[in-house]
C-alpha cells in the first residue's frame, strides 16, 4: 500500500471538475418515460388485447394493472436511489417497493377469491413467462447499464429491484396484450416468474453492480 500522503496527493492531482450524477428522481423519471415509450411501441407492434374495453369494465382487472403499475413506479424509483451509495439519504423511499408489493399481493388475493367459478385456463403456459422475459430484456439491460455508472453499496438489492422493475414492464405488456382472465394462470406464469427474476437479480447485482 502507498503512503497516505502520497495517495492523497495523487487523488488531489486527479481532481478534475466532475459531471454530477442526475438526481435519482430525474433518473427514475427517465427510466419510466423510456419504459412507457417502450411499452407503447411493444403494444403497437403486438396489439392490445381485443377485449380491453370489456376488461377495463372489471374493477379487479383495473386494480391489478394499477397495482402492477405502482410496483413498476416504486421499483424504478427505488432502483435509482439504490444506485447511490447513501440511497441519496432517502432510505424510506428506497424501500417503498415493499409496500407496493404488499398492495399487489392483496389485489391478487382479492382477484383469486373473486375467481369463482374459476375462469378457464388458457391452453398455453410457459410461453407467457418466455414472452415476459423477452420483453423485459431490453429494460433490464438498460437499467443495469445506467446503474453501473453510479456506486451502489447495496448491490444485491439494487440488482433485484432493477430486474423486478424491468419484469414489471414485461408483465404489464402481457396483461394489456393477452386475452386471459385466469388468475391461476397469471400468478403461475406471469407473477411467480417475475419474483424468480427478482431473486436472480440478487446474483446479477453482485456480478454487475460491484465496484
Amino acid at each position: 500500500m502507498k503512503d497516505f500522503e502520497q495517495l492523497v496527493a495523487e487523488l488531489a492531482n486527479d481532481a478534475a471538475p466532475v459531471k454530477l450524477a442526475p438526481h435519482p428522481y430525474l433518473l427514475s423519471l427517465k427510466w419510466m418515460g423510456a419504459a412507457a415509450v417502450y411499452l407503447a411501441v411493444s403494444l403497437a407492434v403486438s396489439g392490445l388485447r381485443p377485449d380491453l374495453a370489456h376488461a377495463l369494465a372489471q374493477p379487479l382487472y383495473i386494480a391489478e394493472v394499477g397495482a402492477l403499475l405502482l410496483v413498476f413506479v416504486a421499483t424504478s424509483l427505488s432502483a435509482a436511489l439504490l444506485a447511490f451509495p447513501d440511497l441519496h439519504q432517502k432510505r424510506r423511499l428506497a424501500f417503498a417497493p415493499a409496500w407496493t408489493f404488499a398492495l399487489f399481493v392483496l389485489v391478487i388475493l382479492l382477484a383469486w377469491r373473486a375467481d369463482s367459478p374459476p375462469a378457464p385456463l388458457p391452453v398455453h403456459s410457459f410461453e407467457c413467462t418466455l414472452s415476459i422475459t423477452l420483453v423485459s430484456l431490453l429494460p433490464a439491460a438498460w437499467t443495469f447499464h445506467v446503474m453501473r455508472k453510479y456506486a451502489s453499496t447495496y448491490y444485491y438489492w439494487a440488482g433485484s429491484i432493477a430486474l423486478l422493475s424491468a419484469f414489471s414492464v414485461g408483465a404489464l405488456w402481457l396483461r394489456l396484450h393477452e386475452v386471459n382472465d385466469s388468475i391461476w394462470h397469471v400468478v403461475e406464469w406471469h407473477y411467480l416468474p417475475m419474483l424468480a427474476a427478482g431473486m436472480l437479480g440478487i446474483w446479477l447485482g453482485k456480478v454487475l453492480l460491484r465496484w
Binding site: A9, V18, P85, Q89, T153
Partner: protein, 179 residues
C-alpha cells in the same frame, strides 16, 4: 473549520476541480473515519489499508454526491460498504487458510506419528494457549472429536472452530520451531 458546512463546501469546491480543497477534504475525512475503523479492526495496519481503499472509493464515487445533502452520511455509507467487503474477504481468507491448514495438519499428524511426536508430548504447550484454543485442540486431538462435534460442544460455529484451531497451530508451530 465549521465542520457542518465546511465538509460540504470543501466537497463542492473539489467537484469543481479545486485540488487544495480536495486535499483538505480527504485529510479531514481520514481524520474522522479513523476512530470508526479503529473500533472495528484489530490492527493499525488494517485501518491504514482500508482507509486508503475508502479514499479511493470516495474518489471513484464522488460524482454521486451533489453537494446539497450532508457529506458525512454519504462518506459513512461508502466506508461501511468497504469495511463489510474487507471483513468478508478477510474472514473468507482466514477460513480458507484454516481449511488448508486442517488438511496440512492431517498430513502433519501422520508425520508426527512416524517421528514419534504425540499429542501428549506437546500437551504442555497446548495448555499454555488461550483457554478456548487449548480446549479445541484437546477435544480434537486427545479425544478425537471432529470440527463439527467440537463446534457443537463449545457452542461455536464450525468455521470459528477452524479459525481458532488455525491460530493455535500457528502459535504451536512457531513455538516448536524455536525449540
Amino acid at each position: 473549520m465549521d465542520e457542518i458546512t465546511g465538509l460540504e463546501e470543501l466537497m463542492r469546491k473539489s467537484m469543481g476541480g479545486d485540488k487544495l480543497a480536495y486535499t483538505k477534504l480527504l485529510r479531514e475525512t481520514a481524520r474522522f473515519l479513523r476512530p470508526f475503523l479503529s473500533k472495528r479492526l484489530s490492527f493499525d495496519s488494517e485501518v491504514d489499508d482500508l482507509m486508503q481503499e475508502i479514499l479511493i472509493s470516495i474518489h471513484k464515487a464522488r460524482h454521486t454526491y451533489d453537494g446539497q445533502r450532508p457529506y458525512k452520511p454519504w462518506v459513512y455509507a461508502i466506508a461501511r460498504f468497504r469495511l463489510q467487503d474487507y471483513l468478508r474477504m478477510h474472514y473468507a481468507d482466514q477460513l480458507r487458510h484454516a481449511e488448508e491448514l486442517t488438511g496440512m495438519e492431517k498430513n502433519l499428524q501422520e508425520d508426527v506419528t512416524e517421528s514419534g511426536i504425540s499429542y501428549e508430548s506437546i500437551s504442555a504447550e497446548v495448555e499454555k494457549l488461550p483457554e478456548r484454543q487449548a480446549a479445541i485442540l484437546r477435544l480434537m486431538h486427545q479425544e478425537g472429536y471432529t470440527d463439527k462435534e467440537v463446534a457443537a460442544k463449545l457452542g461455536m460455529t464450525e468455521s470459528a472452530v477452524k479459525v481458532a484451531a488455525h491460530r493455535a497451530y500457528k502459535v504451536l508451530r512457531q513455538k516448536l520451531e524455536r525449540q
